[in-house]
Every structure is written in C-alpha cells, then in structure tokens.
C-alpha cells in the first residue's frame, strides 16, 4: 500500500497508514525524494504512529530517507514512535542515529519551525 504524502506549505507530511513491506518502503523513499525536489520542500515529517513493529530494514530505510532528503535540502523528523517500539528498537541496536525525532505531528512541526527560524537568524 503506498504511503500518502501531503504538502503543507514548505513541508511534506507522510503519514504511514499500515504496515509496510520492504518494497513499499523503497517506493516510499524514492517518491519522497522526488517530491522534495518538485515542491522545494524545507522539511519532511514521517508519522509512524500506526507501526507496532519497526524492524532493522525499516529503521535503516528511515535513516537512509533522512540522509537522502538532507542532501536534497530538507530536514526530516520522524514522529509518533510508540514507547514499546522505541524500547525494542534500542534493544536491537536500531537507534536512528542522526535522525530527528518528535513525540507527534504537533511537536514535529514545532521542531521544523524552530530550525527554520534559527537558520534565518544565522
């Protein structure tokens, strides 16, 4: 099932709706990367609230997405990781190093806005 990606001002919001297969994840990665270029996006939020499992492939792909989008000029925030999921990810050594995370969509947007302001000030 493809992941719906919504445009919201300078940001893209991708809200995962069901468990994703490996192929879905790769498709998701390439379509996000393409859309960031097309819409001149400054920030991307990936909402994973629905996922009750994040395995090593998913974690690696999410990290790869964040790095790819950084190269294309957009910040990525992963939001809505469930407490249980966070704990099991850490136990498996999948800690999404270098990727920004936030509690939910609200906090994610706030984080992106704050970063935007900081950059303007610089």
């Amino acid at each position: 099932m493809p992941v719906p990606i919504m445009k919201q001002g300078e940001y893209l919001i991708a809200s995962i709706q069901s468990a994703l297969t490996d192929v879905d994840l790769l498709t998701f990665q390439s379509s996000l990367s393409e859309m960031v270029g097309r819409h001149h996006t400054r920030g991307v939020i990936i909402d994973v609230t629905i996922l009750d499992v994040i395995d090593s492939f998913a974690a690696r792909t999410l990290r790869a997405i964040a790095y790819t989008l950084k190269l294309r000029g957009a910040d990525t925030v992963i939001v809505g990781i469930q407490p249980e999921v966070a704990f099991s990810m850490v136990q498996l050594g999948l800690s999404l190093e270098g990727v920004k995370t936030a509690l939910d969509l609200d906090d994610g947007l706030e984080l992106l806005n704050k970063r935007g302001n900081d950059e303007h000030r610089e």
Binding site: I81, P83, A86, V90, S95, T101, A102, L103
Partner: protein
C-alpha cells in the same frame, strides 16, 4: 473367603458403615463441636476471633466436613476453604492456627470413633479406613487454599513494590524527573524504562532528568541500560540529562571503560534541572522581594 472390597466401589457393608458414621457425627454435633472449640481455645488457636465468629465458623466447618464425608464430593470444601483463606490471610491468621485447628478437629472426630467402636476392633479399623482419607483430603484442600492465597498476596505486593519503586515526577510543563533508588537489576531496568517511556508520551515531556544518586553501584550492565534508555527517550523526541554521578561512580565508569559521551551527564540534580530549563528555554529570575503570598 470373601474378596476384599475395593475403595472405588464400596461394598454394601461399607455404605452402611458410612451412613452410620455420618449419622453418628450429626447426632453428636453439639458435643463434638464444643469439645473441638474448647481444645482450640486451650491451644490458643482462636486468637483474633470474636465468640460469634468462632460459633459460626466452627459450625460451618464441622458441617462442611460431614457433607464431604457423606457425599464424597469436595466442591463445597474447596469453595469454603478459598473464602476462608482470603479472609484469614487478610486478617493475619497464621497457618499454624488454621492447620492446627483442623488437626484438632480431625483428632476429635477420630477420638469419637474410637469411643464408639472400642468393643469391635474390625469395625473400628473399617470406619477409620473410610474416615481418614476424607479428613486428609480436607486438610490438604485447606492447606493448598492458604498457600495459593499467600502466593496471590505476595504477587500483588511485588507488583506494588515495582510500581512504587519508579516514580516519574513532573516538575514543569515538559520536564520529568526520574529518581532511581536502589539496585537496578535487569527485570527492574526493563519495567522502569517501559513505565518511563509511557509517562513521556502521556505527559508530552521534552526533557527528562534521570537522577542516579540512589543507585549504590553502577556497573557495565546498568550503564549499558542507561544508554539504551536515553536512546529510546530520544526516539520519542525528548532529550535526557543524567545527574547524580558521584565521584566514585564516575571513577568506576572510567575504569571499566563505559562510554557515556553521547549522554549529557551532570554532578547533581540541581544542575540537571538548570540544564533542562536551558534546553527548554526557561530562565529562572531572582526577585529581590519575595512574591506576596
């Protein structure tokens, strides 16, 4: 020679004897029960019970035992035993009181059989054959009920202690403090992290200050667990400050080569809260005049 009657299929004669026993116990109910209660009083097994309670409880127990003997079914005994265990454990009755009381009852019944059949040895031994397994079975039912009840209480208390041992305190909007006190083993560490992560989500915390002043020793396992917790907290979008690293703990960590460089650590809780305020953008202002009450 007659074949020996088996226990499973009582012969005609055994049935007759059983009825005779039941009738005997029912007939002597008043006297035997009084004797039982008196003996229990003499052995101080009834402490903590009011006279009315002694009356009703002893009547019920006496009748339940006779019912078991008469019907060969133990449902009522099991039900009553678990109810009694629930009440007894709650009110701090000792196992000695309960088991002791039933042993006395067993003796009272047995003694009355001896008195009744003392002239007929063969009949006495048959009567005991019928009566003793029933008495033993009832004793084991009651003992099991008490053990189960105790285990239940112990389990509940363990759960309560686990939950009490990890309070997650909210100090400001978005700032949680987790004081860890006592030895951190793997079970507790897991439970602690789970509860912490849930609280972060519920209270939408931005910064967590974890104070380990009360942890007597930090070894590789505990340190490793702290790092894991910090990473899990970050995945929920909050940041962590660890405080309360005593000089000894810091030295141990360096000696055993634990790498906490990715974690923000500070000496005491106060500087931890200051740091958390800084992260969240709060600034505490000192007013010369204390605010009016």
């Amino acid at each position: 020679m007659m074949p020996k009657p088996s226990r499973t299929q009582p012969s005609e004669r055994e049935d007759v004897l059983l009825n005779e026993l039941v009738a005997h116990f029912r007939e002597k109910r008043g006297a035997l029960r009084k004797q039982w209660v008196n003996q229990m009083v003499a052995k101080r097994l009834l402490q903590g019970l009011t006279p009315t309670e002694v009356e009703t409880e002893s009547e019920t127990i006496y009748d339940t035992c006779i019912d078991c003997l008469a019907t060969g079914k133990y449902d009522s005994a099991e039900k009553y035993a678990s109810k009694m265990a629930e009440r007894g454990v709650l009110r701090g009755m000792t196992t000695e009181q309960i088991i002791g009381g039933l042993l006395v009852l067993r003796d009272v019944y047995g003694r009355s059989l001896f008195d009744k059949y003392q002239k007929d040895q063969a009949r006495l031994s048959k009567a005991l054959d019928i009566y003793e397994p029933v008495a033993n079975k009832i004793l084991s039912i009651v003992a099991m009920a008490f053990i189960l009840e105790r285990e239940k209480v112990v389990r509940n208390q363990q759960q309560a202690i686990l939950e009490l041992s990890t309070p997650v305190l909210q100090v400001r909007e978005g700032l949680l403090i987790l004081p860890i006190i006592g030895v951190v083993d793997s079970v507790r560490a897991k439970q602690l992290t789970e509860q912490l992560l849930r609280s972060i989500r519920e209270r939408r915390a931005k910064v967590l200050v974890m104070d380990i002043t009360g942890v007597p020793a930090v070894d590789t396992k505990v340190a490793n667990h702290l790092v894991q917790t910090v990473e899990a907290v970050r995945l929920l979008g909050a940041s962590t400050v660890i405080t309360g690293l005593s000089p000894e703990v810091a030295q141990t960590l360096v000696t055993i080569g634990v790498d906490l460089s990715k974690v923000k650590t500070l000496g005491d809780l106060q500087s931890g809260i200051d740091e958390a305020d800084r992260i969240m953008g709060y600034r505490v202002l000192y007013q010369k005049e204390p605010a009016a009450r």
